[in-house]
């Protein structure tokens, strides 16, 4: 596991190269669940080593890139390049093949919108963790929904999770969680990478979370005539590789999209409980920063706030003045604590130190100001989806208890 702990230090240097040829599998490798159905590679063994194969008889150099780590592959006599990695962190990792210098998706993998493009994904199983798998429980639906935003002057596609009993109880009304992806991802990511629907189906079946509607928007919005945000097209890791404060370009027109367009549309289209006590917002990395920027600007609209590996504040060494930050919402801690039912901060213990420090510092500053914070650490997971799946598993049960 050591290899993953040094990645963060080298992030800015453009990743590290690992010669992994000498790794041996435990002999019990199985195709990854993230492969295209029927594809044999990549495979993962019981000790979480991944083995990659790609046929490329005419290539000079082939490597596997998993997040920011590169593994040299070795060519066999049959023209098939192969490599076995050391044991990997559990959960979902973006990965690519680098064929003679060109970074492309492994044709054997399903694809996932991340790093500003359709990327490969490797699902490393986590022993005993199946809260995001398809089980024999009632299933909700994920609905692709289009709506027109006056703010952007364009149609927007969103995905909406409706709980298992939504169509069967035509008079029931439900609370709503707005849930945002990270930088370089989009409105598909919580469904495809995050498995939000399966996590919620399982939590609801166990009666751990209340049935709720979950709305997943795109984290990019521009007014007519504005250029598209670079974060929508950049090849940056989720969260932008940094945990900078919620700068205006992380939010921009998105505040108006949420408050003026999206929430009114959701409340008039779905059977919601349309008040702040039944409305939550959360997001991961950049989406967490957007969540804090939008919710702290509209406390009358939200009663629950979640930051998964990304939140508010300017904590890359900046100062936090509880009296003035975010228009002074924290100035009266008692009033804030009465109004906001849950303020959640989560982080993976294997995330880069810069990110951990950032969230920890924000947590400390809020506590010092008398703000109640629920702080969650995901054991052994990185700035990746396994952390955020666990965030959702722990956060959702705290919602809408009133």
């Amino acid at each position: 596991m050591k290899i993953h702990h040094i990645i963060p230090l080298l992030l800015l240097a453009g990743g590290i190269i690992v010669n992994a040829q000498t790794n041996q599998t435990a002999g019990d490798s199985k195709p990854a669940s993230s492969n295209i159905s029927g594809q044999q590679y990549p495979q993962i063994d019981s000790e979480l080593r991944a083995t990659f194969h790609v046929r490329a008889p005419d290539a000079k150099n082939v490597r596997v890139r998993i997040a920011e780590t590169f593994y040299d592959m070795t060519k066999g006599e049959d023209g098939v390049w192969a490599v076995t990695t050391p044991p990997l962190v559990v959960g979902f990792h973006y990965y690519w093949l680098v064929i003679d210098g060109v970074t492309v998706t492994d044709p054997q993998s399903e694809t996932f919108f991340g790093y500003g493009k359709m990327s490969g994904g490797l699902e490393v199983p986590s022993k005993g963790e199946d809260f995001y798998d398809v089980k024999n429980v009632p299933h909700g639906e994920v609905r692709e929904h289009w709506y027109f935003s006056k703010t952007t002057g364009a149609w927007r596609r969103i995905f909406v999770y409706t709980p298992p009993d939504y169509d069967q109880n035509p008079k029931a009304r439900y609370p709503v969680l707005y849930l945002q992806h990270g930088s370089g991802e989009d409105e598909r990511s919580w469904v495809v990478q995050g498995r939000v629907n399966l996590i919620m189906d399982n939590l609801i079946a166990e009666k751990k979370a209340k049935p709720m509607i979950i709305v997943m928007e795109k984290g990019y919005a521009t007014r007519p005539g504005e250029p598209p945000p670079t974060s929508a097209v950049g090849q940056r890791p989720a969260g932008g590789g940094t945990n900078q404060p919620s700068r205006p370009n992380f939010v921009g027109a998105l505040d108006d999209v949420f408050i003026k367009d999206l929430i009114p549309m959701i409340d008039s289209t779905y059977r919601t409980k349309a008040d702040r006590e039944n409305r939550a917002m959360a997001g991961l990395s950049m989406g967490g920063m957007q969540t804090f920027a939008i919710t702290l600007n509209h406390l009358d609209e939200f009663a629950y706030i979640g930051g998964f590996s990304g939140a508010g504040g300017g904590f890359g060494g900046g100062t936090f003045d509880a009296k003035t930050v975010n228009h002074g919402v924290f100035a009266d801690a008692a009033a804030f604590n009465k109004k906001i039912q849950v303020l959640w901060l989560g982080i993976g213990t294997a995330e880069p130190k810069q990110m951990r420090d950032s969230v920890q510092n924000y947590h400390d500053a809020l506590e010092q100001a008398g703000i109640k914070v629920v702080f969650y650490e995901s054991p052994g997971t990185a700035h990746e989806w396994q952390t955020w799946r666990r965030d959702l598993r722990e956060f959702a049960p705290l919602l809408f208890k009133k």
Copy 2:
């Protein structure tokens, strides 16, 4: 356009190579709508030439493959490989980069499940045709839905289109079209490649088609213990590159999945009109063959049958005995014509001769047997999605008129 007319003849020879370096653009190229948002290449000019760019300074050989045609790229001094094609057939084409012999998806493209893997897609605009674009009309939803199939012993993911007024009219009931993808594609394809929801939204807004539910299943099913079908993982073009008769392996357990599992589940989950007069089935290529195999086996379940570039029969030179084929359903033409409201056969005029002949021969045999057939030819389009989008545009308005 000539280049496309000779492709079919060379299909079995593994495609053709075109040296397209000398093609000039009309100077008005724009990024393809199928690109990742913000990506500049590929671009298409007003005469439908496509220009591809890919940075690969260390590669020895880079080509673009569009369906079965290969275009050699030329390396510039900046390490960027480029090529401009001759004018292309309108509509959606699967495409890839071939980098030193390895076929991969262009990182600048969205991805689409086709050829048994996540492939790139190039949308070539069709002047004056916007029936599959997002317009200012009421929009339905596409719902990801999971259900358990007793036949396969496993959970299956399907996509269900519900029309714009479905949630607003909680007492209304709707007819259902079951709509199947082609070989090497899956339950996502009619949504992502086909834009089924946008086509239907536009038809319904123009009052050309009745509001209906559309169910999109996966065209592969195996009973517990059976090996997965090779067609699910093979790298074959939609339709398998042939138009062979509906062999058992094209249907297999799918007949039971539809009749015993899927249709009862849909009728108990959605507000359907649950009788044969309000139930249609159609499919493209392999999905058309599955449609004919299943519907002709269950005339009491369906009143509308559609084959888009793929249908029934054994017409690679086989015989057609109307008295005996498909358990004799065509033996009494008058009875069949009374029972089946629409039997549809569609084909693109630029499809391979083998496929056109196959559908034409089937059409002729049915007419000779006295069976009423609606025959549709899509002008200038290939064995690709533009043909099938047009099939749907023409077929849907004929449904559920009683």
